[in-house]
Subunit: 152 residues, 2 copies
DNA sequence: CATCATGTAACACGATAAGTTACATGAAAC
DNA sequence: GTTTCATGTAACTTATCGTGTTACATGATG
């Protein structure tokens, strides 16, 4: 487990959900090459945040609760519990040592700036943007397949 | 172990080193509230990068090999092996799924920008800057102690 | 009521930073 | 040259956390 990929996994799941209207945890797990329990566990926060709905029983599964255009990647990150962005950080939060205080102040400043930029970027991308990009890639693939058919 | 604090630890150690000319792993470990072996292990990369020197035997220990002003926090990070900055990331690096490709592209873009900013910030701070900040804090503390003596 | 799907707890696994012990290597002091 | 001090490094342990997996409860549909 190198990095926390829950945001990545969740976005992947949400886009598949958008393509299917409703989709079960098992189907999503197959799409994501993971386990249905992981899907449910990860998606729990999104349900609480009102981003998705879940239905039990026959014909049940997951569906989107909001328009793709109104949900940013930052919203998804927040719904997941605002996991830490950075793998690096200070050793002690409020050290008595003045040297360490100076180090922490510098590190915190740099990390704060980087985090602000990252959040700004995530806020600027909506699920609709991702879906559009996906559609573009799909159109491109079909075009390439056609060309290769004509060529061969 | 929540986060990788090697950069923080190392900067702390380097500033103490600057105050002392030469200092042993045991003394550093005491300053940092850690283990001398951790100090040696962490500092190994800095020695290879030519940022510090180490001497064995009587009167031995660690000393700075370069002027504080010529070493940036990015240099230290690099000497430590360029540990990953981010705790989040994509699940698969080169997925076949077009949905995941779209997700990855968006995430990579945001992370790349944030990493670039972070590196720029780290490049912009030298060990001399940290040392200055430390001196400022120390002067301030002495001033406050004086004031509280006069007051009481 | 049988089936299907989510909800959740409980446990195992893998990776990694950090702490610790043990011992080898080398330099200075006596 | 032997003792002492300090680094160099391997090996093992611990703690944490994302992820995978099993098992079972809950609830909805037919």
């Amino acid at each position: 487990m190198k990095r926390d990929s829950r945001l990545s996994i969740t976005l992947h799941a949400l886009l598949h959900m958008a393509e299917r209207q409703i989709i079960t945890s098992d189907e999503l797990a197959a799409c994501l090459s993971t386990n249905p329990v992981v899907v449910r566990r990860t998606m729990a926060g999104l349900r609480e945040a009102g981003l998705v709905r879940s239905e039990k029983g026959h014909g049940g599964g997951w569906s989107l609760a909001r328009d793709l255009a109104t949900v940013s990647l930052a919203d998804v990150h927040e719904a997941l519990g605002e996991a830490a962005f950075f793998a690096i950080g200070n050793r002690t939060e409020s050290p008595g040592c003045l040297v360490e205080q100076a180090v922490n102040a510098a590190m915190d400043g740099a990390l704060r700036d980087a985090e602000a930029l990252l959040l700004e970027r995530l806020r600027g991308i909506s699920l609709a943007d991702l879906s559009e990009d996906f559609q573009r890639r799909m159109a491109l693939r079909h075009q390439n397949m056609k060309e290769s058919n004509y060529g061969g």
